[in-house]
């Protein structure tokens, strides 16, 4: 077993910059945490999930598709060094796995994989949640996991890439801390997870009337924050900018909460009402994606609830939905088998 003290953590990541483009949780001046370079601010691995989606390291808010000049067309270059992105909670890792599969399925999205390919993923778990609370261990799904245990981090590599970057750290005798945290992780129950499962059941059983979505839609100001904060939201828009000597085509995060998202040039709009759009936001995660991918694509990270100015993130909606439609003929609040 290898360990890192909190003081060793920053130098450890700094040492990886020779071989990797390192992105890790940093603390910004007003207390906001984000993914940044080690030199951009103090390391902030403690604190739980970052407010922004860590998958943005591979699928950024806005990024180039290609640049066309007189006779040449160029695509954005791959990073000079492979990315190393730290700070994924186990839920974030589940999100990453989901969108990895999404971007690879069928046609392979080369723009995504240009950054994603070869990237080293570092998870963060253990007692590093908000206020020092416990984040369950991921036990895989990443190259390397850093598990917080009181005054130190347990270093748990899962892949060759993970082994390689921690190879230089000294070995120490294991003292059972990892096993203890794993046990404590297993004992954790998440009410929101239960809620999301139950809401999914109800939606898939067609127990939620359209009027419910209209009511929630009345409370939506279409800020699009829920989509932009969601690690499994992958929708994008495309724009062309015409400069004198070149055209730049880029793509940016888009939102199904916007009326223009599906509106066609003819004016026809399959998502033409607030109720339909609100339904889509929840339904897509809890019913459509399970149908297509065999998995609910809300991994209960809570970002949309944090970012929503009017209190209708997916937990809030699921709670209201389960309270109102979950009691008749079903076992309200019980997880699906």
């Amino acid at each position: 077993m290898k360990y890192l003290s909190p003081e060793q953590l920053a130098p450890f990541f700094a040492s990886l910059e020779a071989t990797h483009e390192v992105r890790l949780p940093i603390l910004l001046p007003d207390g906001t945490r984000t993914l940044g370079h080690p030199s951009d601010g103090p390391l902030a691995l403690q604190g739980g999930p970052l407010p922004g989606k860590p998958t943005a390291a591979f699928f950024p808010h806005e990024g180039g598709v290609f640049t066309a000049a007189a006779e040449t067309v160029s695509t954005p270059p791959a990073p000079e060094k492979p990315l190393l992105v730290a700070g994924f909670t186990p839920r974030d890792l589940a999100c990453l796995r989901f969108i990895d599969r999404f971007f690879a399925d069928g046609w392979r999205d080369d723009i995504y994989f240009r950054r994603r390919q070869g990237a080293v993923i570092v998870g963060a778990s253990g007692y590093c949640g908000p206020g020092g609370s416990l984040i369950p261990c991921a036990d895989g799904e990443c190259d390397l996991e850093l598990v917080a245990d009181c005054a130190r981090w347990l270093v748990v590599p899962y892949t060759n890439a993970g082994e390689a970057i921690v190879g230089g750290l000294p070995d120490a005798a294991p003292d059972g801390a990892l096993e203890r945290i794993r046990e404590e992780s297993a004992a954790l129950a998440d009410v929101n997870e239960v809620l999301i499962l139950r809401a999914s059941e109800l939606i898939r059983a067609d127990r939620v009337p359209d009027t419910f979505w209209a009511e929630i839609g009345d409370r939506c100001i279409a800020c699009t924050g829920c989509n932009l904060a969601c690690p499994t939201c992958t929708c994008f828009g495309v724009q062309d900018w015409r400069y004198a000597e070149r055209v730049e085509r880029s793509r940016m995060w888009d939102s199904c909460q916007l009326d223009g998202f599906m509106r066609e040039a003819s004016g026809h709009n399959p998502l033409g009402t607030e109720a339909l759009r609100t339904r889509r936001r929840i339904h897509h995660k809890l019913a459509a994606d399970p149908e297509r991918w065999g998995k609910i694509s809300c991994f209960v990270c809570g970002r949309c609830d944090t970012v929503c100015p009017t209190g209708i993130g997916i937990f809030a909606v699921a709670r209201e939905l389960v309270e109102r439609f979950g009691s008749v003929g079903g076992k309200a609040g019980s997880p699906c088998p």
Binding site: D105, G106, R108, D240, V247, F261, P270, L276, R292
Partner: protein, 283 residues
């Protein structure tokens, strides 16, 4: 544990290839037919019912269906209505200009399942453009199908697409072709029927056991036409629809064309009715 990928492109998935405009033909005051060929001389390699992402540098991309059959060598065609900014820009182009395309994409009409069947080819408005790719295919491979009936409804005589083609199909012994317009105004040179395309269905004699109906048209058309077809005994597994959505990528990534769990650009645009009729917002 690398996720499975079925399609890889050599360059970027999102890089268009160049296409030369061979000819531009006015169809209506709002629609033009573009005849194109790939600059590198390859055939497009499409099947009837597929679409391409047309790329105009500076204007972006738009999904446009191919209006010609792959049985016609050396070129492909698209009927383009001036609707948004890209199509407006496209209408300014002329023979010799070069545009970009990506594709062909999407699920085509399922020819193996159509072979040997009587086909009822029903289209409305600019739906005739994608339908034409199938009609031309039938025209070129008549031996593969049973009876071929074309029904077409346009807003007005002036809005009627492919007038020459329609005339030819009407004259052809291989097709039974009926068309109609919603309304005529005085002075229109027009001899066909007036009314909705749905009105053309009741008089038809249909053997529901060996007929497949193919529908392409504006969203308002589907429900009414399906209702008439049901009266003729056609089940949902004998009705094919092609749906229009504003795909931004064509490859199942951008999310703009989803119908519940389906991606119209990959799982469609051609669907058997029974695959989508219960999905909210599909029709």
């Amino acid at each position: 544990m690398s996720p499975q990928t079925t399609h890889m492109t050599e360059a970027s998935l999102y890089l268009p290839v160049n296409c030369e405009i061979v000819a531009v033909i006015d169809l209506t005051p709002h629609e033009k037919l573009f005849r194109l060929r790939l600059v590198d001389g390859r055939p497009l390699g499409h099947l009837p019912g597929q679409f391409v992402q047309v790329s105009l540098l500076g204007w972006g991309e738009a999904p446009l269906s191919v209006a010609s059959s792959p049985t016609r060598d050396g070129y492909f065609e698209m009927g383009v209505r001036r609707a948004g900014t890209l199509t407006a820009a496209m209408h300014e182009l002329k023979a010799g200009d070069v545009i970009g395309i990506r594709g062909p994409f999407g699920r085509p009409f399922e020819l193996p399942k159509l072979r040997g069947q009587d086909l009822l080819l029903i289209s409305g408005g600019c739906g005739l453009a994608p339908m034409r790719s199938l009609i031309q295919y039938c025209e070129d491979r008549p031996e593969e199908f049973g009876s071929l009936t074309i029904l077409y409804g346009a807003k007005s005589p002036a809005d009627t697409l492919f007038k020459d083609d329609l005339a030819a199909w009407e004259a052809s012994a291989r097709f039974a072709c009926s068309r109609t317009v919603d309304r005529i105004t005085e002075g229109d040179c027009y001899s066909g029927g007036v009314g909705l395309v749905t009105a053309l269905i009741p008089p038809l004699e249909i053997d529901p056991g060996r007929t497949v109906a193919v529908l392409v048209g504006p969203p308002v058309m589907y429900r009414a036409v399906v209702e008439e077809l049901r009266k003729k005994g056609l089940d949902s597994d004998r009705i094919v629809v092609s749906l229009e959505r504003h795909m931004r990528c064509g490859v199942g990534k951008c999310g703009h064309c989803t119908i519940e769990h389906l991606y119209c650009c990959q799982d469609g645009p051609v669907f058997w009715l029974n695959e989508i009729e219960l999905l909210k917002g599909a029709l």
